[in-house]
Amino acid sequence: MSKGRPRPAGGRLARGLPALASVVGAVLLWEIYVRLSGISPLVLPAPSRVIEQMGVNRALLWENTLPTLSATLTGFAFSVSIAFALSVALDFLPKLRRALFPIFVVSQTLPLVAIAPLAVLWFGFGLTPKILLVALVTFFPMLVALVDGYESTDPEIETLMRSMGASRWKVFRAARFPSAMPYFFAGLRISITYAVVAAIFSEYVGARAGLGIVILNAKNSFRPDLMLAAVVVSSTLTLVLFGVSALLQRALLRWREAGQTR
């Protein structure tokens, strides 16, 4: 019951150990296979070579990570703001919801492979098509998370608030919105990973810089080692963003941990 729950020292490390062990094991197997089979690095480079390339090209990789990060974050911020504003409107106007939801569902069926080149064709090589593509991919999951979250509100809490004479808006602010927060963060964690993939893909079809461009150039010059180095960087970027949103959730939803002994 005390405020600082005692956590066994290194408990989290111990819990992460199996995952770490399996990753290290897989990489080792890969390394051993490449060495024993003598396969050409032009087909399958060893992990040691990929790491070496990351070191050699660290300036190039870093320079190209920043545009990808900024495209991801700008697009995602744009998409979350629109999703939030719209979710509030839809919560108050169920008719609007029935009218617009089919459109959003259709937007999710559009193949990115076709839309991305079109976006570049229409909006050029700048940031705009990237923002739009990231938004296209992440907008609907965020909207659904929020709308479902509002619907998850305990009806007894709403009845109680109405018995107090609360307005519809007050009920939204005090009950429906906080009820949606766990859903919102669940959506956030998933969408942010989609956002990175969308940003890289939109760079791949047309951009001046970015990890997508590094991957494209490495592919065109038959450098799988550099491609994989860029992939490692992009995965790391995704993991970091995922971790940041998890931390954000922990900081903002501390009540969810209350009452859990561990």
Binding site: D154, I157, T159, R162, S163, S179, W255, G259
Partner: protein, 205 residues
């Protein structure tokens, strides 16, 4: 309430219910599970409209303006994301009392409701009885003319019952005394009447 009837789905949940509650009166409504006690309250809080009959207050049709009743639901309906103190002041907040002032008004009552030291805790950290008492405090502090308590069972255990009833008087203030409608209320100190609902609603076969 005059000849009130409610049909939910196929079930006649309330049939020809009449009940009069006078000023300063404390009425307990007893009845087996499923008799329709909570449904009566849903009518009074406006969550449900009667299909037949009428509900009057001071001879005029009851206005559902949220000014008349303070309602304590059967399940406590505490907001898990709010600390206990902020759950307790929800009604005052809705009434437009600034948060700081509402908290200042609520804090002295925590001792009498057996919740001292738990002001800053979240509902998940409280026992079932404590949650019920927090919900009771949230109801009482609204200082409405009529209180509707749906099974405030936290007051059925001995020691907090005493403290609760004391707290109730403090929070209710020097007014003539609240009118209460309460299924299963234990306190025996007020003018006290029991209305019984004997039959359980039976869905048609």
């Amino acid at each position: 309430m005059r000849n009130v009837g409610v049909t939910l789905g196929e079930t006649a949940v309330l049939d020809d219910v009449s009940l009069h509650v006078g000023q300063g009166e404390f009425v307990s409504i007893l009845g087996p599970s499923g008799a329709g006690k909570s449904t009566l309250f849903r009518l009074l809080t406006g969550a449900l409209a009667p299909d037949r009959g009428e509900i009057l207050r001071d001879c005029a049709p009851l206005k559902l303006d949220g000014q008349t009743f303070a309602f304590m639901p059967q399940r406590d309906a505490l907001m898990p994301w709010r600390r206990i103190i902020d759950n307790v002041i929800l009604g005052l907040e809705v009434q437009g009392v600034p948060r700081a002032e509402a908290r200042a008004r609520a804090l002295p009552l925590f001792v009498e409701f057996g919740l001292e030291g738990f002001e800053q805790r979240y509902p998940a950290e409280l026992s079932g009885g404590m949650r019920q008492r927090a919900a009771l405090l949230r109801t009482v502090i609204q200082a409405r003319p009529i209180q509707l308590l749906d099974e405030p069972s936290a007051c059925s255990t001995r020691s907090p019952a005493h403290r609760c009833s004391a707290g109730w008087k403090t929070a209710g203030g020097p007014r003539a005394g609240p009118r209460c409608l309460s299924p299963m209320m234990c306190a025996r100190r007020w003018p006290f009447r029991i209305a019984s609902m004997c039959c359980r609603a039976v869905p048609p076969a």
